[in-house]
């Protein structure tokens, strides 16, 4: 279990992280969100012991993380942290040896992962000759080569196309099913919704949203109604009590209501229309909750 307890990090007069607490259990995928400079990377560095919290503590299986525990942790850094003059095989062996693995074992695992990511032909290629996406794959492999019990992924999907993003997600799910704890940050908020159970949203180092995603969404009063009907008039929708925004999205309208209870008023109006194809009430999206709480678009 990973526990971050009241962690705080100050850089002089600047507070990068403040009163941060969360727990990740085995088999759990945890999302850490926030705008640029919100304190996500600082949090990861505190977990990895690269920087010491000004106050609070980080416990891994009830113990502070020392160099004795790092072999059980996989860490993927936001910026590519590869020695680009090295050959793929050399680099993975080098990083694997720093996880106390034997060379033969590293080679076996490396070949498995290279094949799984469809880059088995790049084993003897220099890193700096690879595309950004493939470099990202190599970096991901170095983070998982030791079959970590705790996997820390700082922006793992940055620079990946949708197909490769899907491959990463599959691998993350595999580790989750094996009981690994996974914490990651991402700019692609859809991923957080699709496979995170718990999350924290940081703003200026402080958690503004925290907890189980379903609970967060259900506690959030605002809802969306998706409507596809002929002859719909935006002004009439806006005039309905409880409606605070109406957005045209492709062939449908998204009507944003203050509370679930206002959907009946909207439905009454829609019933007056001809040819109604869609009327769907859904919880607010995570990105909307994020914008609402943080006050800016998640980017």
């Amino acid at each position: 279990m990973l526990e971050v307890i009241n962690a705080r990090k100050d850089y002089g007069s600047l507070t990068a992280v403040k009163d941060l607490s969360f727990t990740i259990k085995p088999g759990e995928v945890f999302g850490l969100l926030g705008t640029n400079g919100a304190g996500k990377t600082t949090t990861f560095k505190m977990i990895m012991g690269l920087i010491e919290p000004t106050s609070g503590e980080v416990l891994f299986n009830n113990k502070p993380i020392t160099y004795n525990e790092v072999d059980e942790i996989g860490y993927m850094i936001e910026d590519r942290s590869l020695l680009t003059k090295m050959v793929v095989k050399e680099l993975i062996i080098h990083y694997g040896r720093l996880k106390s693995l034997e060379e033969e074992e590293i080679i076996t695992r490396m070949r498995y992962w290279l094949k799984r990511f469809n880059i088995e032909n790049y084993e003897n290629r220099k890193i700096n000759t690879l595309s950004k996406g493939n470099q990202q794959k190599i970096q991901f492999i170095t983070a998982i080569i030791n079959n970590p019990k705790l996997l820390i992924l700082d922006e793992p999907f940055a620079g990946l196309d949708p197909l490769n993003t899907l491959k990463f997600v599959e691998v993350i799910r595999d580790f989750q099913s094996k009981g690994a704890m996974i914490i990651f940050s991402t700019h692609q908020i859809d991923h957080v919704e699709s496979f995170c159970e718990n999350l924290i949203v940081l703003q200026d180092g402080k958690p503004v949203i925290a907890g189980n995603i379903n609970e967060i969404r259900s506690e959030y009063k605002k809802h969306n109604i998706l409507i596809n009907a002929a002859g719909l008039e935006e002004d009439k929708l806006r005039a309905i009590s409880g409606v605070f925004d109406v957005v045209k999205d492709a062939d449908q309208w998204i009507v944003k209501i203050e509370d679930e209870k206002y959907h009946e008023e909207v439905f009454k109006y829609v019933k007056t229309l001809k040819n109604v194809i869609k009327f769907d009430l859904e919880q607010a999206r995570l990105s909307e909750i994020f914008i609402d709480k943080v006050g800016e678009v998640y980017e």
């Binding site: 012991g49 502070p64 160099y67 590869l82 680009t84 106390s100």
Partner: protein, 434 residues
Amino acid sequence: MSKFSYLLRFQLLKRFKSKTFVITNIIVFLLLLLVANLNHIINAFDKGEADAYIMVVNQTGKESFMDDLGALEEEYYTEGMGRIHFEILTDYDENSTERNILIASFDDDILKAELKNSHLNFLKQNTLQSYLQMLKNNYLFEGLDKEEIELLEKLQTPLILIVETEDEATTAKEILSLFSMILSIPMFMLIVFSVQYIGGSIVEEKSSKAIEYLIANVSPKQHFFAKILTSFTFLVVQMLLMLVYGLVGGFLSAFVFGKASGGSLNQILASNFGLDVSDMKEILTYLPLALFFFLAFAGLGGLLFMVIMAFIAAISNSNEDFQQFQSPLMILMLVGFYGALFGTMAGPNIVVKILGYIPFFSPFMAPSLFLANIYSWYETLISLLVLSITTYTIYKLIMPAYKTAILSYDTDKFLKRIRKAFGKNNNNKTTNNK
């Protein structure tokens, strides 16, 4: 194998397996062979100096003049120098364009000679001068009795006799002094290469952000030591290799290409280098201590510069930063190097002596000053002690700051980064690694 041992092994293999190392060593080996066997190589290509022909117009009236010249040439001829052949020219024409015409005559019983259309080189001209001077004296002394000759010889005795003191530079000391200059150059280059390597290696890891992965798995202290030990081992191995190359070159020069076949080491080396046995003995007595000082100063000095360079690399975010920040240290090293070169020429000067104690200059200067007989052994030892204490103190000061600097990507100015690095120490992860 612990992570530290692995890291050390990895970096050493990377260093010693690199093409640069192999190519550099092949070049250095060949160069040292060349230098050690330069005399043999020159001799192999030297066909000897060409003989010189002098046409003699004998106006002295002495029939023996030609024989006398020939006899002197026979007596003083040196192997490999080219002979001087004297041929009589009977029908001399003043307008003759013939080369090397020597017109000899007597002027008031004193031999007088004139060389026309000379094409003799400097050495041959000197030889001819000395032959004629000897003949001039011989002819003057003809008919004098023994006492008169002795009196004339006494008149030629110099009025002031310069007596050499014990401190006066002997041939051996001059050679040792020369040796100090020769040794300073490879020593400087080796230290610079090692120091540059450690800096470049750290900057490569830091600028690529690989350092975060590394420090997440090995402590900054282990990372620092692995870098220092790799560079230090490289420095020592390279110095020993150069010593071996030199010995191989010397062996080939003495036993394969040279004439040495037996006798003591002194005799073999003396004959090979064309020195007196006593001079060679003096050199060989002095050389082991001098070599010890050179190795000790190179090792400790290298360590001092490596520690500082590792820190400079740690506060650099990119190669551009590093190139800029390392300049002051490189200048200090250059001052030490030039101090070693010119200090030995300047002699026992107080400024030179003081500079030789300053740790940033002493690695290059002190052993050279010892070889040049400017420092005594105990002065050199004091300089070595000062260097050791300074190196240890600087390491103790820099180590905690290195931990902070290596993970910091501050973009402040150089001095501010240093202040920040010394002002805080963020990394406290337990270092009880396996």
